[in-house]
Subunit: 468 residues, 2 copies
Amino acid sequence: MIPNSFIQKITDIVGESHVEHSESARMAYSYDATPNFQSKPDLVVSPKNTEEISQIVKACGEHQVPIVPRGSGTNLAAGTTPTQGGVVLLFNRLDEILEIDEENLTITVQPGVITKTICDTVEEKGLFYPPDPSSMKISTIGGNINENSGGLRGLKYGVTKDYILALEVVLPNGEIIRTGGKLAKDVAGYDLTKLLVGSEGTLGIITEATLKLIPKPEAKQTLLAIYKSIDQASQTVSRIIANKMTPATLEFMDQKTIKAVEEFSHLGLPTDAEAVLLIEQDGPPLVVERDIERIAALCKQEGAIDVQTAQSETEADRLREGRRAALSAIARLSPTTILEDATVPRSEIAPMVQEINRIAEKHNVNIATFGHAGDGNLHPTCMTDARNQDEMERVEKAFEEIFAYAIHFGGTITGEHGVGEMKSPYLAWKVGNAGLDVMKNIKAAFDPLNIMNPGKMFAKETRKRIIL
Amino acid sequence: MIPNSFIQKITDIVGESHVEHSESARMAYSYDATPNFQSKPDLVVSPKNTEEISQIVKACGEHQVPIVPRGSGTNLAAGTTPTQGGVVLLFNRLDEILEIDEENLTITVQPGVITKTICDTVEEKGLFYPPDPSSMKISTIGGNINENSGGLRGLKYGVTKDYILALEVVLPNGEIIRTGGKLAKDVAGYDLTKLLVGSEGTLGIITEATLKLIPKPEAKQTLLAIYKSIDQASQTVSRIIANKMTPATLEFMDQKTIKAVEEFSHLGLPTDAEAVLLIEQDGPPLVVERDIERIAALCKQEGAIDVQTAQSETEADRLREGRRAALSAIARLSPTTILEDATVPRSEIAPMVQEINRIAEKHNVNIATFGHAGDGNLHPTCMTDARNQDEMERVEKAFEEIFAYAIHFGGTITGEHGVGEMKSPYLAWKVGNAGLDVMKNIKAAFDPLNIMNPGKMFAKETRKRIIL
């Protein structure tokens, strides 16, 4: 238990009404969107500004109390669960858009701003913030930055990291630094901005960010292609790239996902189809039209049994509906849904999906796969029941094998969700022991007392291992 | 002096013919492209592979001998000078293109490959590697990665860092790690790839890199606009961005540069013009044509006295000639040329150029300015004589003020050249003392013995300071 003197110190910093330690408050912040990683914090604190955060961090350092920064808690890798207790730090009072700079094409925000609010705000001015994680309607930009969130537009536009130009950060020693600037080019020292983005709250607390914007694409078109064979879908993806086109969206659903979606949404998808591709292109109208025509032709050449091109925004919405509903459609089929993000080079999608299906069968677990075919970021999603201990063990074994195969194919254990506590046993598989040592040394260089989101990213000694 | 036992150890690793310690070899590698930072190494070593490099690094660690990795030595910030002696490590025997992967749009190379060789090789396949530092005909990709090199296409396409997907690196302890992959999305742990790119050889030795490629733009057009007033040129840049266009090239020359270029190349540029903009757009032909027409109209609206649009590749070459000749034209006017790269947000280019002119006059030094207007990366270039001690002191004072103003305008001390030894006294101005401490801690975490390119990036205690 943390001492009363610490609680008093924090209360003095933020004021009584911004510190909670009731049972209900502690319960409310004991979990994030990841099943099976619940643990109550000691305090839930809502600071108003950077100076207060600096003081809180200093107090936590003095008392060796863990701090877990938390946006909306949509994290899927147990990255924002207070598994060692301590302080959950909320950003609900740091939710302002500070500046939109139309000359330098930047927006400067506090970490508690909702991602979609940023997108909507800049689109009104003809500008565009591309990263679009599925949780964007509720996730905060601070959470996105901590996790380096991806999304559907990754292939063409990149991920959160590609759009973070500058940060204000409270370091684990309480010092406040500013990194980067409204600059496309800056090589003054090590790139702390890009090191901090995706560091999962383990190196510091982000209190302000300047984001790069681009002009909003003038037009967009949407196409849906249905395949009997997953190889044909995969071949289509390869041919699109080989033909020097980079679609804005290139999404994939496998047969199990198609079945779940069709039962849920009744969109008329043939449930014997092995794969569906949802493809969108944006840009100048003439280019969009040309690319969509070419892509439709390629889909047909590769054997798609149906290719639908939207003629209106309403039709486009209908075509997107299936992919958009995928997670909900799968989630309603079982008490617990485990959504993973093993990622492979684009060329390895078909063999990877085949391995996932083989592994699911071997361990007798139910896995549907959808995801971002353009950038190889797959979402094998397991329908299970967290109360069934025997099944959960098989699920873990299956995902272990999936991670191992992702690495075997030149991929990674996590494309966009982060390592968190959940995937920390597998990090060494991707980065090697020497790489892991480097990362631990970086962590210790920033945070020698290990107060910033401890237990995340780096596993305890008791790692799980499998032999393939 | 390094002991003979160390020389013998290195010779045993790479073979007699790949170790040089003659006076002439030591002299040849005693400097890079930066004036006034000459210092002889003890040994010049040319390893053949990663394993040899690992062994060399381990030997250097045991004997506490500095290692300076060096590509072609085109560095402009004394980043590749062996200012503390030791081993200069060459990559001339690691110069192979290992793979071009047309499915995943990547190229994998050894560090000694010439940058332009990469560009030419992939363009033959209809692909494109955008970073184009001015030295690309002789610089190596390893040097570009160490320095995070920029170039003319930064505004639209970004810099070297944006195209490095994966690295093989020998750490200062001799361990070999692999970072990243052929992946657009990878959040497995801290982003070592992006930390290593631009780390100026202070954190490890890059022995292999996988680069991201994009489809080659189908068409390109070139335009030159001449202005009586620098404000009109700057206003044109703002209007192009405000009109949601992102040119591939948006280059600027001031009056002194125009005069030098005209005396050198006789292109018919009016020497009373205060500014010239060279603007290029690339992409699908219809978009290029539309953008160039719109940009030409904007140039005229903002008061350009002459706007020339190339009707052929020969004409485009003629328009590019002035900007391309800028450095040579300036360099022939004095014994010593000091080319800097203070960078500001795009909106601050006009006030920054005015400050540069005021500062040059105040210190009675001769500075011409050209550079990348689109991304605010200016090249104030001083014509001087390194043998004139009095003038060199005034030059240093002038650049100190220029760096300070760049930071005042929200910019940085270096946009694309790196900190090296030359700009290390100024790094704290940009990143603050707390930021500098973080960087030093990262350096110590990687390289506790400080053998990797020591003395670079972090200044000795005796820093220069000025009061503005």
